[in-house]
Subunit: 240 residues, 2 copies
DNA sequence: GTTCGTGACGAACGTTGTTCGCTACGAACA
DNA sequence: TGTTCGTAGCGAACAACGTTCGTCACGAAC
């Protein structure tokens, strides 16, 4: 313990580290990992820090800011990629997969991410890196900017899906089996395609589905870029 | 899930209409439209119905079920499309746009949709219809099944984004202007691409961005379908 | 006229986020 | 050394939340 100021209190209390935003966020993320987002309440957090809820408000303005700060902490765990035009697709996959993994390790944080577009230091860093990779891939500036949103969104939503069955104490196959039963037992007259494709709907693990989504979207992006390069006349999107 | 609601409570009270699941959901959606998801609490709902919170539990098992039922009510507002292979892309756009519009009219309901994959009668109906359109477009069964998720997700996430600034009492351009200022005033050394593309990041209204996302993804899907038809063997993943 | 199932509901319990003052400490100052 | 003072810390309280329990009132069946 190398804290410069130790509160030598007269109050009968074992020496505890002084509160700080860092300590609060570390503790919050630990509760999040162990018990999910619902468990991260101001009171629970205060109890874990051996204090009262009011003490937290010195460092954090409220629940919403706490959650956003937690989200940015998670974004900090993502290792960035130095854009290389020869490997941009692979790099993009790595970057986004890392984002997904970091979120999946903190079940519930993805829900915060969907409602709050990244505004923190590290979240924006990831967005900037993603833009770099898209530009390295020859995607036009406008497409890259729009695609940045969508790709982040796919990662976030994938993490939410993981959190859904984690919160219900199930693993992936268990969850898929349950879903398959639901789809297959639907009235075929009203849901002809869902029942027919009940097997395909739950096929593949999260990784496969995630890569399918990213890959398909990138295929579309690349096709647009090639079309834009071929004839610059037939680009209909810019309307002013 | 096909047990119709029995009009068991024939007791007609003089002053106020009898409670029913329909009446509860209609009232809940009205509060949702007028004041957002946060305002839809059991107590607020009960007050609006001139009763106490306990009365609601006769018809609705709890808050979570209420929200899911509200979501399915919103899904009910979507007009389905009869799949026509000649117009499938246009039809798909219409279907998904309608879903988006219905959600945007009920700010906050999209948050429910991301955390709860559609399990209600009408939500599944929309999913089934979406599958039909993809199959009509010649997408393979497996791709259609996976794409169904992604496309719904894009619609849902777009609605969430709309709800974000609606909740902050802003319109779209106001929100974009604010974002542009944020991006442009970032330190260019740390965020070179975000600052450089600050204009492109906020370009276009929600409709344009939404159509870009759907169109790009469909382009990728169609390309995959063509590749699958061309090479009868397995689909190569990394076709540059 | 009595019984009975059930919709309705008052009251309460245990949570939650947040605010308001008071306390006591360390540092600055006389 | 003695005094003041800003402020981190914290106890207590407030309003609002979801949910449950026991009970009441009523229409219908007997």
């Amino acid at each position: 313990m190398d804290s410069p100021v130790r509160p030598r209190s007269t109050r009968a209390r074992p020496a505890k580290p002084p509160l700080s935003e860092d300590l609060i966020l570390d503790t919050a993320l630990r509760i999040l990992r162990e018990e999910g987002l619902e468990a991260v309440t101001m009171r629970r957090l205060a109890t874990e820090l051996d204090t009262g809820p009011a003490s937290l408000y010195v460092y954090i303005s409220g629940r919403q800011e706490l959650r956003e700060a937690m989200l940015d902490r998670v974004a900090r765990m993502v290792d960035l990629e130095e854009a290389d035009p020869a490997r941009w697709r692979e790099q993009l996959h790595r970057l986004v997969k890392q984002t997904l993994t970091a979120m999946e390790a903190h079940p519930g944080i993805a829900e915060v991410a969907v409602a709050n577009p990244p505004s923190g230091e590290h979240g924006l860093q990831v967005a900037d890196n993603l833009l770099a990779l898209l530009l390295a891939g020859g995607i036009t500036a406008q497409d890259a900017a729009w695609a940045c949103d969508i790709i982040m969104l796919i990662a976030t939503a994938s993490a939410v899906e993981t959190a859904v069955y984690q919160q219900r104490d199930m693993n992936e196959t268990e969850f898929h089996d349950r879903l398959h039963t639901v789809f297959a037992s639907l009235p075929a007259a009203r849901y002809p395609h869902l029942t027919a494709l009940s097997a395909e709907m739950i096929n593949g693990d999260g990784d496969q589905r995630f890569h399918f989504a990213i890959d398909t979207f990138l295929d579309g992006l690349v096709a647009r870029a090639e079309r834009a390069r071929a004839g610059s006349a037939n680009v209909p999107r810019d309307a002013g």
